[in-house]
Each structure stands twice: as structure tokens, then as C-alpha cells.
């Protein structure tokens, strides 16, 4: 994972550099009029005819890089809708991998125009960037072995006996901590969830916890070996990250989200991607125009 992150960082910088180089010699695509107010991000992007979007490359259902080298998933579909609204076709989108650790950084440095990457909205992050949305409310869930009925929810960890696995540096890992009696003996963190699933199989841990969407991906692949237990115990509103202070761009995306909730594009984006793991089409959450 560390390596992956460094590779991603390297990729980010290469891509950004490449994009800048191309931008300098891009002829002719400048439309004389724009439907966007001059000086806004929307005007700039639609004039340039291209956009750089950060997403996860390793998150099934939301952003997973396929064999064709392009990411696919719900986040990716949302990105395409935003680009389309700016008059940018899908093939003009420059996708960069934004693992959790670099998301604020790429926005601050301008390496990405927006980040749509299973990006939970919280106040700490809002100090550095701004969020449009939420466009989806994920929730933390618990996955256990199908034959194990001893865990019914996060409270099952309070007596200090059961062990739970998550990924280092993730919000779910921080969230579950408050349900644990002793972090040292109950919490196992790996760099990727697949190791957690393996530890669950080997009975080193009794549960894996993270957002429901991710867990559903593993449940669907497990041939009935695992199940979700209890119900979602957090609300993780996923937002769309934009540069701090870009209120007009944020409002533009919020307007767009409300539009696609209504016109069915939102539902289609879901069923085409994450809906394969979770058939319940979510209702678009109310956007937060803070």
C-alpha cells in the first residue's frame, strides 16, 4: 500500500506535468463564448475542454481501475456527469489515482480539479478543501463469517473478547476504536482489506469493518462464506472535493447533483456500477450548501 501510494504520487505528478505540457500547445478548442461566467472554474474547464478528476483506483463499485486502464464505478460515473455538464466528453477526462492519504494534497496543489473518491465529508478535511454533496451516504458495517452469530453490532466488541479488522489510516478504523475495550488486543489493521478478509477466514479476527459498499463487494465474491451483521452504525456522507474557497464551483456541482437525483441519471449511475453489489438504489441525500 505504501508503495502503491508512492507510485500514485509519482503518477499524479507525471500526469499533472503531462497535462500542463499538453495544455500549452493545445490549439483551436477555445470556444468564443462560454455558458459559464467568466473567471469561474467552470468557465476555465469548459474552455480548456478537459478536466482532471481524482478517484480511487482500487475500490470495487466506486472507483476500480479495469484491465483497459480506465477506472470504473459509481464515483467515476458521477465524474463523467460533471464533465459532461461542462461540455467535456468522457475521453477528455484525465483520471488520476487519489488514495486516501493524498486527496487534500492534490486539490491544494491543483493537481486535480475535483476529487470523487469515496471521500467522507468531515470538518477536519473542510479546513483544507471544500465539499460539494453529499451525493451518497455510506455507512460503516460489520462483516463476519456466515456461521458466526455471536456478533450483532459494534457493541459486541465492548467486552474485549472479539477482534475486528480494518485498514490503517481509514475512518472506519478510527470509528470502531470507541467500541473496543482494548485497541491493542482487539484491533488489527492492514494496508488492504483483502488481508482482513484472509484474517477473517483464518479466524485470527472475528469481523471486518468498513463502509457497507466495500463489504458488500467481498460478500458477493465469497460464495456465502461471509455476511453482513447488524445494521449500518455510522453515516459516512461521501462528498466531492473541490479547491478550498471555490464556492461557485461547489454550488455548480450541488445544483447538478439535485438535477441528476431528479432526472434518473443518478439512479442509472448506481445500477450500472455499485448497484451490482447492492440492488437498493439509494435516494440522493440532500446536498449541504454550507
Amino acid at each position: 500500500m505504501r508503495l502503491k501510494r508512492f507510485a500514485a504520487l509519482a503518477a499524479v505528478s507525471v500526469l499533472a506535468f503531462g497535462a500542463a505540457a499538453c495544455g500549452g500547445e493545445d490549439p483551436g478548442t477555445t470556444p468564443t463564448t462560454s455558458k459559464f461566467e467568466a473567471g469561474t472554474t467552470m468557465e476555465k474547464l469548459s474552455t480548456a475542454g478537459k478536466i482532471t478528476i481524482g478517484t480511487k483506483f482500487d475500490q470495487p463499485g466506486f472507483g476500480l481501475k479495469g484491465l483497459d486502464g480506465k477506472p470504473a464505478g459509481f464515483d467515476v460515473e458521477i465524474g463523467k456527469i460533471i464533465a459532461a455538464e461542462l461540455g467535456i466528453s468522457a475521453d477528455k477526462i484525465n483520471w488520476i489515482a487519489t488514495p486516501s492519504a493524498v486527496r487534500e494534497e492534490v486539490l491544494e496543489k491543483g493537481d486535480a480539479d475535483v476529487v470523487i473518491a469515496t471521500y467522507t465529508i468531515n470538518d477536519k478535511r473542510k479546513q483544507r478543501i471544500d465539499f460539494a454533496g453529499p451525493y451518497y451516504v455510506a455507512g460503516q458495517h460489520l462483516m463476519v463469517r456466515s456461521d458466526d452469530s455471536s456478533i450483532t453490532g459494534p457493541d459486541s466488541f465492548k467486552d474485549g473478547a472479539k477482534k475486528v479488522c480494518s485498514v490503517q489510516g481509514s475512518t472506519p478504523a478510527t470509528n470502531i476504536e470507541k467500541f473496543l475495550k482494548d485497541k491493542a488486543t482487539q484491533l488489527v489493521l492492514f494496508d488492504v482489506y483483502t488481508k482482513c478478509v484472509d484474517a477473517l477466514k483464518n479466524k485470527q479476527v472475528d469481523a471486518v469493518t468498513t463502509d457497507n459498499v466495500i463489504l458488500l463487494g467481498y460478500v458477493s465474491q465469497s460464495n456465502g462464506a461471509y455476511k453482513l451483521t447488524g445494521s449500518k452504525f455510522t453515516d459516512e456522507p461521501y462528498g466531492i472535493g473541490v479547491k478550498k474557497g471555490d464556492a461557485k464551483f461547489r454550488a455548480f456541482i450541488n445544483d447538478l447533483l439535485e438535477k441528476i437525483y431528479a432526472d434518473g441519471r443518478y439512479a442509472k449511475a448506481w445500477t450500472d456500477t455499485a448497484g451490482k453489489f447492492d440492488a437498493n438504489v439509494p435516494t440522493g441525500p440532500a446536498v449541504n450548501r454550507y
Partner: protein
């Protein structure tokens, strides 16, 4: 830089856990490495072969794979490395005796991996001991074991101290990988946690992590320099 002050407890506990991991792993690596080195220079061909195979295999694998083998291979074999739950040790190294095996797995992975390098450092040290030393010991009737323990290894250690220092420093840095294999709260992953989940800026957090590692590695480097200087004076 407020991040460092606000999260001092995270850094301190991460540092403490990494220090425990490193002290145990360094001890294990030095023990195993010395035994493998003894095998490699022993007069028994099968032992020499076993020692050489160990070094060739372990030294040429990425550490991640060794971690994989201990963290997922051992459970597959039904082992939780419970032999490391030594009662006395567990009271100092609090993670050693707990139910979760990942700290023990990490100690094994780092020990086993680093031992291959320790072995080669010691072997180069042994080669630096003049052949006459072992010959004189043999001519006095010392057995191979006595010769090794009383004459060759004590001198080899002195010649090996500098390369051994580098090996242990590399091991301390390698310990950062443990966070990816279930050792919750180790220094590197604690820092990562602050940035990705806590949303703190990367640079100051990583400066904090760096300081943690430097606190361990720099004194070790200075210590080794001093030992080496003292050795130079003694000659």
C-alpha cells in the same frame, strides 16, 4: 506543526510500539543470524548447506513476502506463534503475550529476514579474523563450538560491528512494514492514520514520523561509530 503537539500521544505510543518491535526483532535476528553463520562456517557439510540455503532464500526475497508468509502462512499451518508468549518478556513487551498474533508474526518476519543479513555480516567478520586464531585454538584442543564461542565469534563481532549496525538500522526502517500486517499503532501507520483518516497535512506528520525513527537510528549509528573508534584505538 501543531499536529505534532496535538497528537503527541499518538507519536509517543507509536514510537514505543515500534521500539519494542525493533528491540525484540534485533535480538531475534542477532541470535538466528549468529546460529546460521555458525552453520555456514561449521565443518559439517549438511549444516553448511542448510545455512547457505537459508541465506540464499531469505536474503533474496522481498520483506513483504516474508511478512506474508508469517502473517498468513503460519495461521494456515495452525500456528499463532504462541512460543513467543514468554511470561517474563510479555510483561515488558505488552503486545507479545496477547491473543492477537500479528505482533509476534512481525517479530518473526523481521527476525528471520534480518538474520540472513546478520549472518553475512558476521561471516564477513569471521573472515576478517586471521586463520591463525582458529588454528591456535584448535591446536590447544578446543572443540569447534568452544573455538567459535571463545575465540572466533568474539573477534568476528568486533569486525562485524559496523556492517551489523547498518543491518539493524535497515531493520528499524523496515519495521514500518509491520503496520501493513496487523501491528496496530506502530509508528509509521499511526502517522499515516493521522493524515488519511484524521485529515492532517502530510508534511508535518511525516516529519514527526521521521523524528521518531531518527531517535532510534541516529543514537545507534553514533554508538557504532564510537565502538569502531574504540576498536581502532585498541589496535
Amino acid at each position: 506543526m501543531d499536529v505534532l503537539i496535538d497528537n503527541a500521544d499518538v507519536f509517543v505510543s507509536g514510537f514505543w510500539l515500534t521500539l519494542q518491535l525493533c528491540v525484540l526483532s534485533a535480538t531475534g535476528a542477532l541470535l538466528i543470524g549468529t546460529i546460521v553463520a555458525a552453520m555456514r562456517i561449521s565443518p559439517v557439510p549438511s549444516l553448511r548447506w542448510a545455512g547457505a540455503t537459508y541465506v540464499t532464500l531469505v536474503r533474496n526475497l522481498p520483506l513483504t513476502i516474508v511478512f506474508f508468509l508469517t502473517s498468513f502462512g503460519l495461521p494456515e499451518l495452525g500456528s499463532n506463534a504462541d512460543f513467543l508468549r514468554v511470561p517474563g518478556l510479555s510483561s515488558v513487551f505488552d503486545r507479545l503475550g496477547i491473543d492477537l498474533p500479528y505482533f509476534r508474526f512481525a517479530v518473526i518476519a523481521l527476525s528471520v529476514y534480518t538474520a540472513a543479513f546478520v549472518c553475512e555480516a558476521i561471516r564477513s567478520g569471521v573472515n576478517a579474523v586471521p586463520a591463525g586464531q582458529a588454528e591456535a585454538a584448535r591446536s590447544l584442543g578446543l572443540t569447534f563450538r568452544q573455538n567459535l564461542l571463545s575465540i572466533v565469534l568474539p573477534q568476528a563481532w568486533r569486525a562485524a560491528i559496523v556492517p551489523l549496525g547498518s543491518v539493524i538500522i535497515a531493520m528499524i526502517k523496515n519495521s514500518a512494514l509491520a503496520g501493513a500486517f496487523g501491528v496496530t499503532g506502530e509508528l509509521f501507520s499511526s502517522g499515516q492514520n493521522l493524515t488519511s483518516s484524521g485529515g492532517n497535512p502530510i508534511i508535518p506528520v511525516f516529519i514527526g514520523i521521521s523524528i521518531g525513527y531518527l531517535i532510534m537510528t541516529v543514537p545507534l549509528g553514533i554508538f557504532i561509530d564510537r565502538v569502531e573508534n574504540r576498536r581502532a584505538v585498541a589496535r
